[in-house]
């Protein structure tokens, strides 16, 4: 099954993208596939904060791990709705999620 994700880029342009749920991808990876300016420097290990996003919809997301929390705590652009995209798997649970890329680190 495919899900739909609404993404607002750093230039404020908003677009809907489609993502497959059966390829073991996370949000950081799908943003890279669509060539959004997200580096994913640490490959998705919650070590670099280059995949920082804001969540603008109400979805049941996986809990924030200690390492994700620590990385977000150390970042001055962090807001209450901040997450690391690499820590959110693409699944049915996040269909129609609405996200915005955080400023570049």
């Amino acid at each position: 099954m495919d899900i739909s994700i609404t993404v607002t880029n750093r230039d404020n342009k908003t677009k809907k993208i489609i993502a497959p749920t059966d390829m073991n991808l996370n949000l950081m990876e799908i943003l890279k596939v669509y060539e959004y300016p997200i580096e994913g420097t640490c490959g998705g290990m919650a070590l670099c904060a280059s995949c920082h996003i804001f969540i603008n919809s109400k979805h049941d997301l996986p809990a924030i791990s200690l390492s994700e929390k620590a990385i977000l705590d150390d970042n001055w652009d962090t807001q209450p709705n901040s997450r690391l995209a690499c820590q959110i798997p693409i699944s049915k649970k996040i269909d129609l999620i609405n996200i915005r890329l955080a400023p570049e680190i």
């Binding site: 580096e39 420097t41 640490c42 290990m45 070590l47 670099c48 620590a70 150390d74 001055w76």
Partner: protein, 336 residues
């Protein structure tokens, strides 16, 4: 002017292994890296994580891989310019390249190997307006020479390994006073270091200020005065000789982007069918910094690219000599 056969830009795993492959062909190398230590991503991003796809090692910690590479290249006695960014590129009348760093160190060689990975590791700077006014005199984003902080009053900001490790180091070795300011109450540094820092705080060797950040800076009586605000809006000011905001480094392609090399998606296009040469003759790009059809950003692939590339570099440097591939098993390692 430092003269060598191959200037290697980037001392990550791929740049380091290039020294070995070049050494087998009796080519001397000099490495330049913006970081004060060798190792690239392995040293800066994940020193304590295991890597499972280095041939011959079912598992090896990234920092150990770098240690072993340093040991492997030792016989070839490479030169290092560390803590400096390769900034400008020129060619002289004898067709040799001259690479000059941000600090003004010049290097000259007939061949350049760019092993710059994801780019120059650049400090993440806190969003404080007048930061650059005080950078030269008071602020350090990377610790290059720890001795300069001996007996100084220093303040470190950050919650990662480098913030904690340096706070401990200064408290243990020489600084007169160390403050550690962190934006939250959990650190992302290694547990052992966190525990040690807490013990030091109990002994009064480090003052730890949690849930706080530096909001403003100004100069006062020949010292830097930091205005620190906590989450519940309490403020205090701390005077110090040096402030070290250690919020990590993130890679940026940097000055190499302006050298006339063909760049695609932040990487340098190379000829992968032959020798990983770029569009400028005599300049090669290997490891994570290059791109070609089917490229994989893996250490293993960078090692392979290094071996192929130095063969081509040898022909460029000695057009009339023929090189015959010899196994290290047969010839051993003859250093210089």
């Amino acid at each position: 002017m430092i003269q060598t056969d191959i200037i290697i830009i980037g001392a990550g795993p791929v740049g380091l292994f290039t020294v070995f492959e070049a050494g087998l062909l009796k080519l001397k190398c000099h490495l330049i890296d913006a970081l004060p230590i060798p190792g690239g991503q392995c040293a800066e991003i994940y020193p304590k994580k295991p890597i499972y796809d280095i041939p011959g090692y079912p598992s090896i910690q990234a920092a150990d891989l770098i240690k072993k590479l340093m040991e492997q290249i030792k016989p070839f006695n490479p030169g290092f310019t560390l803590g400096e960014t390769a900034y400008s590129l020129e060619k002289d009348q004898e067709e040799q390249f001259i690479v000059t760093t941000s600090e003004g160190t010049s290097h000259r060689a007939p061949v350049i190997a760019i092993a710059g990975g994801l780019g120059v590791f650049t400090p993440r700077k806190p969003p404080i307006e007048n930061l650059n006014e005080f950078e030269k005199k008071y602020i350090h984003y990377i610790v290059k020479e720890p001795e300069i902080f001996a007996n100084k009053n220093i303040v470190i900001s950050g919650g990662g390994d480098s913030a904690l490790d340096w706070a401990l180091y200064f408290a243990e070795n020489f600084a007169s006073s160390v403050h550690l300011i962190h934006r939250s109450e959990n650190f992302r540094a290694h547990n052992d270091s966190v525990q040690k820092a807490m013990n030091f705080a109990k002994l009064g060797k480090i003052k730890i200020i949690l849930n706080s950040e530096v909001q403003e800076i100004k100069e006062k009586k020949g010292a830097l005065s930091l205005n620190v605000i906590s989450k519940n809006k309490k403020t205090q000011s701390i005077a110090c000789d040096n402030w070290l905001p250690l919020f990590g480094l993130s890679p940026k392609i940097g000055p190499i982007g302006n050298w006339g090399l063909e760049i695609e998606k932040n990487a340098i296009k190379v000829d992968n069918a032959t020798d990983y040469s770029t569009n400028i003759e005599g300049i090669y790009a290997i490891g994570d910094v290059n791109t070609y059809n089917g490229k994989l950003k893996l250490i293993l692939c960078g090692f392979h690219e290094a071996a192929i590339m130095v063969q081509s570099a040898f022909k460029k440097i000695y057009p009339n000599k023929n090189n015959v591939l010899k196994y290290t098993t047969v010839t051993g390692i003859k250093g210089f």
